[in-house]
C-alpha cells in the first residue's frame, strides 16, 4: 500500500449506504417468494377477558382465504414463548403463541388468518367473530403489588412476579445511622415505546424435502432465535436457518423471541407454503415490547457537607402481562449502575416486579442504565438544592480519581477505566459554563424561565462476560483470506444500522494491510455466520470486533509460518508490516499477504505440517464489561404562556474509549440524544384505567421530529478500555443514557425559582404549563 495511514480512527462514510440510499436494500417485507401467502393477526381489544367462543367460519369462507387458526389449533404445536432471564423463584404465566381461553392485554394475539393476498388476510381478520367476557383489569403497578388486588393472571394467585433485594452492597443501616439528613424522593420512569420505523416482519419458507425451515425476520438476534426456536417449532437447530436481512431499526424492540416468529414458521410448515407477516404500526405499538416503567421511592443518607453515605429504595417495576425474552431481568439492571460515576459506599434496592394487563416491558435502548442514570442524576440535583451545594461540586466530590481504576462499586461491578473529572471539565469548557450561568441568571432577572442541567453518567456495555449473561456473552467471528487476496469477514454480531460492515472492514484492512475495498463483512444469516450472540447492549465492536482481531492474529501467525518457509528463514526473522512479509537481512524478497494467501490455497509448497488455506475463526469471551462515560450539559428556555421547553444549548462529551470511526460514533451519539429528547419532553406510553392503549400510533406517541432537535456541541475524551485489544467501550446507548437527566435537570432548574422541586417525565408543554400555572395562581 502506498498510503499507510490507518483506516481505524478515520471518519469514513459507510459501505452499507449505496444500496440503502438507492432504495435497493432488502428488508424482510421486500422479499417475494413464489406462492407466498400472507398472514394477518386478530388482536384483543380488551385488556382482560375470557374468550367464550371464536367463530372463524365467515372469515374462512372469504375469497382468497387459505385458513383461519386460533390458539386451540396452534398452541400445542408451538412451544411457549421463552424467557431467558434466570430469576430465582420467578412466578411466570405460560406464554402461548396465541391466546387460549383468556386475553391478558390489548393487542394479545387471538387468531391468525392466512390468505393469498395481504388485503384478503386483513378482510378475514375483520370477519372473525370473538365472544369476549370482559374481566377486572389491573393497570396500576402499585395497586397490583398490594394484597387483595385484582389479579392479572388469576391462576398465579399473585401479581408479584418476584421480589428481591438487588445491589445490596455496603452497610446500608450504618449509612443511614450516620447520616445528618435523609433526602427522600419519588421518581417515576415512564413507560416508553421503542418505535423503530420498520415494524416487525417475518417471512418463513419450509423446504419439505430437507425438512428445513428458513425464517427471515426483522430481528437483532438471529442467532439467539436459532437457539430458542427449535424448542418452539420442533425443528432441529441444524435444519433451522434464520436470516436478519436489512433491519429497519431495533433499539431493543427486536432483541426478542416473539410469538409471531414461531407462528409464521409453524404456518409455513403446516401449509407447506412460504408465509409472510408484516406488523402494522398499531400492532407495533401494542404488541412489540415496551421499555422502562419503574416507580421508586428513594432515600439518600447524606452528611451536611454533601457526602452521600448510601441510597436505598423500594422500586416497583411493571412487567406487563407476560415475560418476553429478558423482561424480569431488565429492572434488576437498574440497580447495577445506580451509583453512577460516584463513590457511594452502600446501596440497597428492594425490587418488586408485578404483572399488569399491558404489553411486556423489556430491553429498550439502554435497558436499566437510563433508569439508573436518571435516578442518580435527579437525586444529585435534589440533594444539591436541598443542601445548597453547587451541582457540579457535589458530583466531583464523589468521582473516583483516574488512578482509582479499575474501580469497584457498591453494586458489585468493576469499572474498567475512566476519567470523570476530564469529561466534566471538557463539558464545562465546551458549554462555556460560567457564561452560560451568567446568561441564565440575566434571563431570570428579566423575568424569563431559563435553566441549565448537567448529567454525568457511566454505563455498562460490551455485554458481556458469559457468567453474567443469560445464554453466553461471548462473540464469534471468522476471517478468511480468499485465494484472490480478497478478505471475507464473518461476524456473529448483527448490526442493523450501527455500521459494522464499515468499521470492521477498517479494523481488518489495517491489520492485514490490505485496501479496505478488498474486505467484505458478512452477517445476519445463520447459514453464513454460524455462531453469534448478536447485537444489543453496545457489544458489537467491543465483543464482536475483538473476535475478529483474534482471527486476524491467528491468520498472521499462520501466514508467518508460510512466509518463513518461502523466505527460507526462521519465523522469528519474518516481519509483517503494511500487508507485506519480509525477512530483513536474510532475504530481499517481499511477499504481499495476497500472494501468500494464494500459496496457502494452491498448497504445492507448504511447510511440513501446515494446513492449506488461510482462514481462522474465534470465540472471544470478555473478562469484564466496559464502562463508557461522559458528561452532558443542557440549557433550556421555557415559554411561560405555553409551557413549551426549547433547548438553547446542548453539549455532550462522551468517552467510548478508542473510536474506530468517529463519524459513526457521532451518529450514534446524536441518535441517542434524540431519543432522550423524546423521553424527556414528549414520549410516554399510556394505558387508561381500562387497560386501553392510548398511544397506539405516531399521532398519539410523539417521536421527536427534525424541528425538535437543537444544534449540538459534541466533544469526546478517549480513555481506552483495558478489557479488549481494540480499547473500545461501545457507544450505541450513550445518548439515551446521558441526555435524559441533563434535559430534566435543566427544565427543573428553570422552574426552581417558582418552587417546583420535581416533575415526572415527559416534560410536555401541558405538564410544564400546569406546574407554572399552579405556582402563579397561588
Amino acid at each position: 500500500m502506498s498510503d499507510t495511514t490507518p483506516y481505524v480512527g478515520r471518519a469514513m462514510k459507510r459501505v452499507e449506504d449505496p444500496r440503502l440510499v438507492r432504495g435497493i436494500g432488502t428488508y424482510t417485507d421486500d422479499l417475494r417468494l413464489p406462492g407466498m401467502l400472507h398472514a394477518a393477526i386478530l388482536r384483543s381489544p380488551y385488556a382482560h377477558a375470557r374468550i367464550r367462543a371464536i367463530d372463524t367460519s365467515a372469515a374462512a369462507a372469504l375469497p382468497g382465504v387459505v385458513t383461519v387458526l386460533t390458539g386451540a389449533d396452534v398452541n400445542d404445536a408451538c412451544g411457549a414463548v421463552p424467557c431467558a432471564a434466570a430469576i430465582p423463584d420467578l412466578k411466570a404465566p405460560r406464554h402461548t403463541v396465541l391466546a387460549s381461553d383468556r386475553v391478558y392485554f390489548v393487542g394479545h394475539a387471538v387468531a391468525v388468518a392466512v390468505a393469498n393476498d395481504p388485503y384478503a388476510a386483513r378482510d378475514a381478520v375483520d370477519a372473525i367473530d370473538v365472544d369476549y367476557e370482559p374481566l377486572p383489569v389491573v393497570v396500576n403497578p402499585e395497586e397490583a403489588a398490594k394484597p387483595g388486588s385484582a389479579l392479572t393472571h388469576p391462576d398465579l394467585g399473585t401479581n408479584v412476579a418476584f421480589a428481591q433485594t438487588v445491589a445490596g452492597g455496603g452497610d446500608i443501616d450504618d449509612a443511614f445511622r450516620r447520616a445528618d439528613r435523609i433526602v427522600k424522593h419519588r421518581l417515576y420512569h415512564q413507560r416508553l415505546t421503542p418505535m423503530p420505523i420498520e415494524p416487525r416482519a417475518v417471512v418463513a419458507s419450509y423446504h419439505r424435502g430437507e425438512q428445513a425451515l428458513t425464517l427471515w425476520t426483522s430481528t437483532q438476534i438471529p442467532h439467539l432465535l436459532r437457539t430458542l426456536l427449535p424448542g418452539m417449532l420442533n425443528v432441529p437447530e441444524p435444519k433451522l436457518r434464520i436470516v436478519a436481512p436489512e433491519v429497519g431499526g431495533g433499539f431493543g424492540a427486536k432483541l426478542n423471541v416473539y410469538a409471531e416468529e414461531a407462528l409464521v414458521g409453524h404456518l409455513a410448515m403446516r401449509l407447506n407454503a412460504p408465509v409472510k407477516w408484516i406488523e402494522s404500526r398499531r400492532e407495533n405499538a401494542m404488541s412489540t415490547i415496551h421499555g422502562r416503567d419503574q416507580i421508586g421511592d428513594y432515600e439518600v443518607a447524606v452528611k451536611n457537607d454533601g457526602t452521600i453515605l448510601g441510597i436505598k429504595s423500594r422500586t416497583i417495576a411493571d412487567l406487563g402481562a407476560y415475560n418476553q425474552l429478558l423482561t424480569p431481568m431488565v429492572p434488576t439492571l437498574t440497580g447495577l449502575v445506580l451509583t453512577g460515576c460516584y463513590k457511594i459506599p452502600a446501596v440497597k434496592i428492594d425490587l418488586v416486579a408485578v404483572y399488569t394487563h399491558k404489553m411486556a416491558t423489556d430491553a429498550y435502548r439502554g435497558a436499566g442504565r437510563p433508569e439508573a442514570t436518571y435516578l442518580i442524576e435527579r437525586l444529585m440535583d435534589v440533594i444539591a438544592n436541598e443542601l445548597k451545594i453547587d451541582r457540579l461540586a457535589i458530583r466531583t466530590k464523589h468521582f473516583p480519581a483516574p488512578s482509582e481504576f479499575p474501580f469497584s462499586t457498591a453494586c458489585g461491578l468493576t469499572y474498567d477505566s475512566g476519567d470523570y473529572f476530564g469529561s466534566l471539565a471538557k463539558a464545562k469548557q465546551l458549554s462555556n459554563w460560567d457564561a452560560l450561568v451568567a446568561a441564565r441568571d440575566a434571563a431570570r432577572r428579566a423575568g424569563k424561565l431559563a435553566g441549565i442541567g448537567v448529567s454525568t453518567y457511566v454505563e455498562i456495555c460490551a455485554m458481556g462476560p458469559s457468567k453474567a449473561m443469560p445464554a453466553g456473552g461471548w462473540e464469534w467471528g471468522c476471517v478468511r483470506m480468499e485465494i484472490s487476496g480478497k478478505v471475507t469477514v464473518i461476524t456473529g454480531v448483527t448490526p442493523h444500522g450501527q455500521g459494522q460492515e464499515t468499521s470492521f472492514a477498517q479494523i481488518v484492512a489495517d491489520r492485514l494491510g490490505v485496501p479496505i475495498e478488498d474486505v467484505v463483512v458478512l452477517k445476519g444469516d445463520t447459514n453464513i455466520a454460524h455462531y453469534g450472540r448478536d447485537t444489543y447492549g453496545s457489544r458489537g465492536t467491543a465483543v464482536g470486533g475483538t473476535a475478529i482481531v483474534m482471527c486476524i492474529d491467528k491468520i498472521v501467525a499462520k501466514a508467518k509460518r508460510l512466509a518463513a518457509h518461502l523466505l527460507e528463514t526462521l519465523e522469528d526473522h519474518v516481519v509483517f508490516e503494511h500487508g507485506v512479509f519480509t525477512a530483513p537481512g536474510v532475504s530481499t524478497r517481499k511477499i504481499p499477504i495476497a500472494e501468500l494467501a494464494a500459496e496457502a490455497y494452491i498448497a504445492k509448497n507448504l511447510p511440513a505440517g501446515l494446513e492449506p488455506g488461510l482462514e481462522a475463526s474465534s470465540f472471544y469471551e470478555p473478562e469484564n464489561f466496559t464502562f463508557p462515560f461522559g458528561a452532558h450539559v443542557c440549557a433550556v428556555d421555557i415559554d411561560r404562556d405555553t409551557g413549551r421547553v426549547s433547548i438553547s444549548k446542548y453539549v455532550a462529551v462522551d468517552d467510548c474509549g478508542n473510536q474506530i470511526n468517529p463519524l459513526l460514533v457521532e451518529g450514534q451519539v446524536q441518535g441517542g440524544i434524540a431519543q432522550s429528547i423524546g423521553q424527556a419532553l414528549f414520549e410516554q406510553t399510556i394505558y387508561d384505567e381500562n387497560g386501553q392503549l392510548l398511544t397506539g400510533e405516531f399521532m398519539d406517541y410523539a417521536l421527536p421530529r427534525a424541528v425538535d432537535i437543537p444544534e449540538y456541541i459534541l466533544g469526546s475524551t478517549v480513555t481506552p478500555s483495558p478489557v479488549n485489544p481494540l480499547g473500545v467501550k461501545g457507544v450505541g446507548e450513550a445518548g439515551t443514557i446521558g441526555a435524559t437527566p441533563a434535559i430534566a435537570n435543566a427544565v427543573l432548574d428553570a422552574l426552581q425559582p417558582l418552587g417546583v422541586v420535581h416533575l415526572d417525565l415527559p416534560l410536555t408543554p401541558e405538564r410544564v404549563w400546569r406546574a407554572i400555572s399552579s405556582t402563579v395562581a397561588v
Partner: protein, 167 residues
C-alpha cells in the same frame, strides 16, 4: 371491482388492474416491484413511503393507486443512474445521513422536493422541509447536514438542465 390504472413510474409506463382500495405504496411495491418505498405507519405520519407524484411529495400510503391514474410518479429508484447517485443521495452517503436506512428513501424524496422549491434553504428550513418524515436512528442532525451538502449540487444540476433546455 378491479379497475385499470395507468401511470408513469420513473418514466416508464405501468398498467395494471387493481382493486380501488389498493394504496399507491402497495401498487409501487407489489405491482411494480419497486420496494425502495417503505411502509412505516400506513397513516401518513412517518413519511417512509414518500414519493413524488407529478413533482409533489406525497405519502404514498395516503393515496390510492387509482387516484394516481395518469400521473408521473418518481420513487427512490428513479433518482440515481447506474453510474451516479442523485446529489441528495450522495449527500446522505457523505454525511452519514442514515443508519438503518428504512426512513431514508422517504426522507430523500422529501428533501428532493424541498430543494426543488428552495435551492438555498437555511438549516431551519431544511428541518421544516423534512418535518413530515420520522427517523428514529440518526437524531436528524446528519440528515440536515446531508441536505445542506446536497443543496449546491442540486442547484448546479438544475441550472445546467435549464441551460440545456434553453430556458
Amino acid at each position: 371491482m378491479p379497475i385499470p390504472v395507468r401511470l408513469r413510474v420513473n418514466h416508464a409506463v405501468t398498467q395494471h388492474t387493481v382493486e380501488p382500495r389498493v394504496l399507491l405504496v402497495h401498487y409501487l411495491r407489489d405491482y411494480c416491484g419497486l420496494t425502495g418505498t417503505h411502509v412505516g405507519c400506513e397513516s401518513g405520519i412517518c413519511g417512509a413511503c414518500t414519493v413524488l407524484v407529478d413533482g409533489r411529495a406525497v405519502k404514498a400510503c395516503t393515496m390510492f393507486a387509482v387516484q394516481a391514474d395518469g400521473s408521473e410518479v418518481t420513487t427512490i429508484e428513479g433518482l440515481a443512474t447506474d453510474a451516479a447517485l442523485h446529489p441528495v443521495q450522495q449527500g446522505f452517503w457523505e454525511c452519514h445521513g442514515l443508519q438503518c436506512g428504512y426512513c431514508t428513501p422517504g426522507m430523500i424524496m422529501a428533501a428532493v422536493q424541498l430543494l426543488a422549491r428552495n435551492p438555498t434553504p437555511t438549516r431551519g428550513e431544511i428541518a421544516e422541509g423534512v418535518r413530515g418524515n420520522l427517523c428514529r436512528c440518526t437524531g436528524y442532525t446528519h440528515i440536515l447536514d446531508a441536505v445542506a451538502y446536497a443543496a449546491p449540487a442540486v442547484a448546479n444540476a438544475s441550472a445546467r438542465q435549464e441551460e440545456v433546455a434553453g430556458v
